[in-house]
């Protein structure tokens, strides 16, 4: 079993697989260009206080995105302890 939550809710340090990006075309395109897209496994590196930006890692790429964008990215938490 796995849970689907938004990236903004995911605790820092956890890994998950992107299951949907609910944002507009612009966001999908920008993320896509950085290699962040549906099916990719990402790690949430950190989140700032007061709905600040979220930092995610995909492969060797780290991207900081706003809290609002993180809310639109849905991830499936990896239950196997995050091993790739």
């Amino acid at each position: 079993m796995s849970d689907i939550i938004s990236l903004s809710e995911m605790p820092p340090g956890e890994k998950g697989r992107i299951s949907a990006i609910q944002g507009g075309r612009g966001l999908v395109r920008k993320l896509d260009a950085m290699g962040v897209r549906i099916g990719k496994e990402i790690t949430k590196v950190s989140a700032q206080w007061m709905k600040g930006p979220v930092l995610l890692r995909q492969g060797n790429t780290e991207v900081a995105i706003g809290f609002g964008m993180a809310q639109q990215i849905l991830v499936e938490i990896c239950n196997n302890g995050g091993e790739v």
Binding site: P12, G26, R29, K30, D32, A33, M34, G35, R37, V45, S46, A47, Q48, W49, M50, K51, G52, P53, L55, G59, N60, T61, E62, V63, A64, I65, G66, F67, G68, M69
Partner: protein
């Protein structure tokens, strides 16, 4: 022939450019260092070729202004050197495959090749060449490895026959990666752990504060040290005796003497008050400002190359949103502390017009450049740290409050931050030295002529009685609102040209500490210097610059007046 350098942001295009052309372009470790294309030339088999350093782009469907420039440039290129980040092959190939569709001759530089080793990545270059049908050369531009081979292969650049369906792009890239790349497991390095620590709130906030504190301390240490041990002795022991001799030869008085040497104060040269071209005109940029400019660029260049700045952007993002700009706007602000011109140029890393307007306006009003700061430190600092605290504290409060107001009254909303965070890198010393040197050269070339012009015009205006004349009309504001003597208007006039000369013009007026604080704040805020002004007109357009200038004048009147009342 036109050769374009294209690739994702922060893969080292500018470093390759410098290697190919021998030019001096600023390169740093954050995406968006190059916001405008830069041209240079090189020889390919004896023939001259034009090389263009194109701003970084993730995709050929532009998402910001710098990317639009990149896509426009593509039409003009005869050959594209596509620079890849070897540690981020998948993402880099995304752009490569888009370039393939444009049917331009391509050659690939697998840059940052050295970093693949400690990231546990190995790439089969031969196989990659085979699949893509394009020559691929591993390079490490910063040390120069592979550049020679790259140059030799430019003539072999070709349009590949590789075909793929747009829908299947990522699938195609996945296939290529599977065939050419193997990744071995490895442990996290110290720099990676430090990278994580500097973006987590609990550790990141103390790190940010420590970096800011150290930045401030180191700049002061280097600046004061250089002045005390190098520049002051140089001027006192070498330049002053020379100038006194020259002064004697010129008869110690008269219009030309006063223009070149300035007025002698009790028979001596006083660099603060003499105001001659060869005395104050040389001392201000070289003796007073240069040491701090140098100190600032040493620290800034190190911070840029380490990769800390985008992390700082993440840490300050929440606060900056209150001002209508996101965290990345910290970069133009930091650059602005050196000189407002590069600061204004780098507002281009912000996506919307609204954000660029707010950032540029706040920069021009409340971010004092190093030239102005150095003079304020010299003049106000004599009265102790309290005066300095009042000047810089006021500017900081203005920055915050004005930002909040602009965010409220301007239509629209600011975007959220979206930025790639590069890995920490140990700055490459030779690269660092070169970059500091480029900036010092630029400062001397830009500042010295304008300072001399400023001193020249100031002399002229005083001799012809123009300052005294203007002073009569402006007295209600200068004296009535700001509480300054009416001669201080001279500084406001020259401030259009150079802020450091303007502060220097306050020296002979014998102002009180309160007046010095007000004059320093007003001079920082009321209008940008001419170099910044022309840059802002270019960046914002004439109408927006007019609006911005209106805000500057009004806010300096309010703040200067308030200070006069409360201090």
């Amino acid at each position: 022939m036109k050769v374009l350098l294209m690739g994702n942001p922060n893969v080292g295009k500018s470093v390759v450019f410098n290697r190919l052309t021998g030019a001096d372009v600023i390169a740093s470790n954050y995406p968006g260092t190059t916001v405008e294309f830069t041209q240079g030339s090189m020889k390919i088999e004896g023939e001259k070729a034009e090389v263009i350093d194109v701003p970084g782009t993730y995709t050929l469907e532009p998402t910001c202004k710098a990317e639009e420039i990149a896509v426009d440039m593509l039409k003009e290129g005869d050959v594209v050197i596509n620079i890849l980040d070897s540690t981020n092959l998948e993402r880099s190939l995304n752009l490569t495959l888009q370039l393939v569709k444009k049917r331009v001759p391509l050659i690939i530089a697998l840059n940052l090749w050295d970093e693949t080793k400690h990231t546990g990545i190995s790439i089969d270059v031969k196989k990659l060449e085979e699949i893509l049908g394009i020559p691929c050369i591993p390079t490490c531009a910063i040390t120069g490895v592979g550049i020679k081979q790259l140059v030799e292969k430019i003539k072999d650049a070709k349009i590949t026959e590789l075909e793929y369906d747009d829908e299947e792009k990522w699938h195609e890239i996945g296939n290529i990666i599977d065939k050419v790349q193997t990744v071995t497991h490895r442990h996290h390095t110290f720099l990676e752990r430090l990278g994580d620590a500097s973006v987590k709130p609990l550790t990141g906030i103390p790190i940010a504060l420590a970096v800011m504190f150290l930045t401030f301390k180191i700049i002061r240490f280097i600046g004061e040290g250089l002045i005390g041990y190098v520049f002051e002795p140089l001027f006192e022991k070498l330049w002053t005796p020379l100038m006194l001799k020259l002064s004697g030869l010129m008869g110690s008085t008269g219009f030309f003497h006063n223009l070149i040497i300035g007025k002698l104060i009790d028979g001596e040269i006083d660099y603060g008050q003499s105001f001659g071209l060869l005395t104050t005109g040389i001392f201000v940029p070289i003796g007073a400002v240069l040491p701090y400019v140098f100190a600032f660029y040493v620290v800034l260049s190190f911070l840029e190359d380490s990769g800390y700045l985008p992390r700082l952007a993440v840490m300050v993002d929440t606060v900056m949103h209150k001002l209508g700009i996101h965290g990345l706007a910290i970069i133009p602000m930091l650059l602005g502390f050196g000189c407002n011109v590069p600061g204004a140029l780098s507002t281009r890393i912000l996506e919307t017009r609204r954000e660029r307007f707010i950032a540029a306006t706040l920069l021009a009003i409340a971010v004092p450049c190093m030239a102005l700061q150095a003079m304020v430190i010299g003049l106000v600092g004599e009265h102790g740290a309290k005066g300095l605290g009042a000047v810089f504290g006021t500017l900081f409060v203005v920055w915050i409050i004005l930002g909040i107001i602009l965010n409220r009254i301007l239509k629209g909303k600011s975007l959220e931050i979206f930025v790639e965070i590069p890995p920490y890198r140990i700055p490459y010393i030779r690269g660092l030295v070169k970059k500091i040197w480029i900036r010092i050269k630029w400062f001397i070339k830009e500042a010295v002529p304008f300072v001399l012009l400023g001193v020249f015009i100031a002399n002229l205006l005083y001799t012809l009685g123009i300052i005294q004349f203007i002073g009569k009309f402006t007295a209600p504001v200068v004296t009535g609102v700001f509480g300054l003597p009416k001669e201080a208007v001279g500084a406001l006039v020259i401030g259009f040209l150079r802020k450091d000369v303007a502060i220097g013009m306050l020296v002979p007026l014998g102002l009180t500490l309160k007046q010095l604080v007000i004059a320093s704040v007003v001079l920082s805020m009321y209008f940008p210097c001419i170099a910044t002004f022309t840059t802002l007109v270019k960046e914002l357009g004439f109408t927006d610059m007019l609006k911005s200038a209106g805000i500057m004048v009004v806010s300096s009147l309010i703040v200067g007046g308030l200070l006069n009342l409360v201090l």
